[in-house]
């Protein structure tokens, strides 16, 4: 009983630390921009709107033939909803992973020794989660308002997938941070890979079922695709998800976060950076 009490107190303390760092970082960022804390959502929102415009344009060019081979994603989703669900998950992963790559420092002296690099990463993830959740809720709300059809078939699955994606991003970010300590070029390559490969293989613009069967293995290795497709499936249970597996997502998330925590535990000192410069 005492053990659990101590554990609970420790978790509570750690949560308070992470939230305090998150608030500090948020305040710092809001003072650096003319639009305050809204800056966090403006960047991703711009990109989402640009890609929605592209997709709508292509749809208009292609025509509204819903009876192409195997049908199309617009049988199940509004085009805005389809693109934004993809972006929400990919951005969540991308931002959290890239933050870890950019260095875990607060740009302020760490007077308090209890603040560890992992706390900083978690605080940044909390801020990013809040921003992306605000965007996603806003877009979904608007779409539901305009189409007047509220649909969220499996809310529990949506929540779990969201959380697993955050865990996976954190795990991936920490692993890559250790790798990047070896060579600065690795950081550049990984950053480019995350930015390019991730966007084109994560199912932002396409649904897995729209791909021919022989092409699917080229993209289904990517666990972010699984989280995107499962998130869409959780909104509409009729959305087909061939070759997409919840277990694969769970395995990838757990392996990445587990491995990263082991790495972190054994090599924490490597991540400590001088913040007083």
């Amino acid at each position: 009983m005492i053990f659990f009490q101590r554990l609970f107190t420790a978790i509570q303390r750690q949560v308070a630390i992470v939230l305090a760092i998150a608030t500090y970082e948020n305040n710092r960022k809001s003072t650096a921009s003319s639009i305050g804390a809204w800056e966090t959502i403006v960047g991703p929102l711009q990109l989402i709107l640009f890609f929605i415009g592209m997709r709508v344009g292509f749809s208009l060019l292609r025509g509204s033939n819903r009876f192409a081979a195997g049908g199309t994603s617009d049988m199940y989703f509004n085009v805005v909803m389809f693109i934004s669900t993809g972006f929400i998950m990919v951005f969540l992963f991308r931002i959290v992973a890239l933050k870890a790559l950019s260095g875990l420092k607060l740009r302020a002296p760490l007077y308090y020794p209890r603040i560890k690099p992992l706390d900083i990463l978690m605080a940044l993830a909390v801020n990013d989660f809040r921003a992306i959740a605000t965007i996603s809720l806003g877009i979904m709300g608007l779409v539901w308002l305009f189409t007047w059809s509220f649909q969220l078939d499996s809310p529990g699955l949506a929540f779990v997938v969201y959380m697993l994606t955050i865990l996976m991003a954190m795990g991936f970010g920490i692993c890559v941070t250790f790798l990047s300590n070896l060579n600065k070029w690795i950081v550049r390559v990984i950053k480019r890979l995350i930015a390019r490969v991730l966007i084109f293989t994560s199912g932002i613009f396409f649904a897995t079922f729209e791909l021919p069967e022989y092409a699917r293995p080229f993209v289904t290795w990517n666990p972010v695709l699984h989280s995107v497709e499962l998130f869409r499936y959780s909104i509409n249970n009729q959305y087909p998800i061939p070759d997409i597996s919840f277990n694969y997502l769970v395995c990838c998330s757990m392996l990445l976060i587990g491995f990263s925590l082991i790495l972190y535990r054994t090599n924490e000192l490597q991540l400590l950076e001088a913040n007083d410069d």
Partner: protein, 402 residues
């Protein structure tokens, strides 16, 4: 320093006195009691407490008092007896040249709308009271079920929640999931819906085929009437002009005139020969032949005039009129042949294109309750709290900072 407790026998009356005085105080000063209650409420209404209560009540409902739900799943496909040719499409939609899977998908989508319709609900549950009884609310779970005296839209909404029809775009099959508070309820609903699907597919098929056949038969009848009318017109024409065929008569007249012309040529040759033979052009031999020539020419002119003039037989007009009537008869004959062929084809195609509901996986009696809804609902509660905290915190902070 240890605290010295007074003996209990001494403290009891003191405590009693104290409590009685506080009771009097509270009775005498309602303001003070209001402050106390406000403080208590403030302590309870902290966000942490509210969230804990919300999550605890959600967990309590989902895992303790929530009624068991059973799910029955079946899978079937709307299949044609023989493969489609290129012109054949869905029996319900007009997608031309669609592959078999897509045709089944389109049929499945129509079926989905049909099974969720009020019509099917009324067929399965004609007595709304019976539906209310079958799915009545039961203590302690007062949330799920259908309340007594529910309205028709409420019943339809509840009925729709009990089933899920998912057409699969890759295989063309339809997955039908039904749920119920008892295993038999889920299974019976599933089986009834499969029956309704069969009925729907057969009924629509048969009615479309019957319509097609009726149309084809009507076309044959129309073509027969047209042919009869055209033939009758031709007969009347022939009767009126007292001949069998104007064209034949025209041909006969032409050949007769040709004969006269050839005779004329011979006589002209003979006349020329006689003119060379006799010096006097008015010799009786020459005059005789010359008279014959001029007579023959006059006869040919007369015959020609009689054949084509309006006052005469006017064979040209008659021949044209007759040709028109004959082509009408020919066209009507061909139309009748085509209509008969189309009717026969339609009859055969309608037999060939009959669709069937092929059950791939029959629904089984559920042996254990489905716990998916419990986890979905509980995790949704957690999700609501997390998202509200995240979004609310972000928006409030952003508004404060800007």
């Amino acid at each position: 320093m240890p605290e010295v407790n007074p003996p209990s026998n001494v403290s009891a009356p003191l405590h009693k006195e104290k409590s009685s005085s506080s009771m009097t105080d509270s009775l005498l000063s309602p303001d003070r009691s209001a402050v106390v209650w406000r403080e208590r409420l403030k302590r309870v209404a902290r966000p942490q407490t509210l969230i804990s209560v919300f999550l605890a009540s959600s967990a309590f409902y989902c895992f303790v008092i929530g009624r068991d739900r059973y799910t029955a799943v079946s899978e079937f496909v709307i299949q044609q007896a023989t493969p489609l040719n290129t012109s054949a499409a869905s029996v319900l939609a007009g997608a031309a040249a669609a592959p078999q899977v897509l045709t089944s998908l389109v049929d499945g989508q129509y079926l989905q709308v049909y099974l969720e319709s009020s019509d099917v609900k009324t067929r399965l549950f004609p007595d709304s009271k019976q539906l209310e009884q079958d799915y009545s609310v039961k203590f302690p779970d007062l949330w799920s079920g259908l309340s007594a005296n529910s309205s028709a839209p409420q019943q339809l909404d509840f009925y729709r929640k009990q089933l899920s029809v998912s057409p699969q775009p890759l295989s063309g099959s339809v997955i039908l999931k039904t749920s119920g508070f008892r295993p038999e309820q889920a299974l019976n609903l599933n089986n009834s819906l499969v029956k309704q699907s069969r009925r729907f597919v057969n009924e629509v098929n048969q009615s479309i085929n019957a319509d097609q056949n009726k149309f084809a038969r009507k076309e044959v009848q129309l073509a027969e009437i047209n042919l009869k009318a055209a033939t009758r017109k031709l007969e009347l024409f022939q009767e009126k002009h007292g001949n069998l065929s104007a064209e034949t008569e025209q041909a006969a007249t032409s050949s007769f005139i040709s004969g006269l012309e050839s005779q004329l040529v011979e006589l002209k040759v003979e006349e020329a020969a006689l003119r060379r033979q006799y010096r006097d052009p008015d010799a009786p031999e020459v005059s005789f032949v010359a008279d014959q020539v001029s007579e023959l020419q006059a006869q040919i002119r007369e015959e020609r005039k009689r054949a084509v003039s309006a006052n005469g037989r006017d064979l040209n007009t008659l021949a044209l009129e007759e040709a028109g009537l004959r082509s009408d008869v020919e066209f009507a004959t061909q139309t009748l042949q085509s209509a008969r062929l189309a009717s026969d084809n339609s009859r055969r195609e309608s037999q060939r294109q009959l669709k069937f509901v092929v059950v791939l996986s029959q629904a089984q009696l559920p042996v254990a309750p489905d716990h998916n809804w419990r986890w979905q609902a509980f995790l949704a509660s957690v999700g609501i709290v997390v998202v509200a905290w995240g979004v609310g915190g972000f928006v409030l902070n952003a508004m404060q900072k800007s």
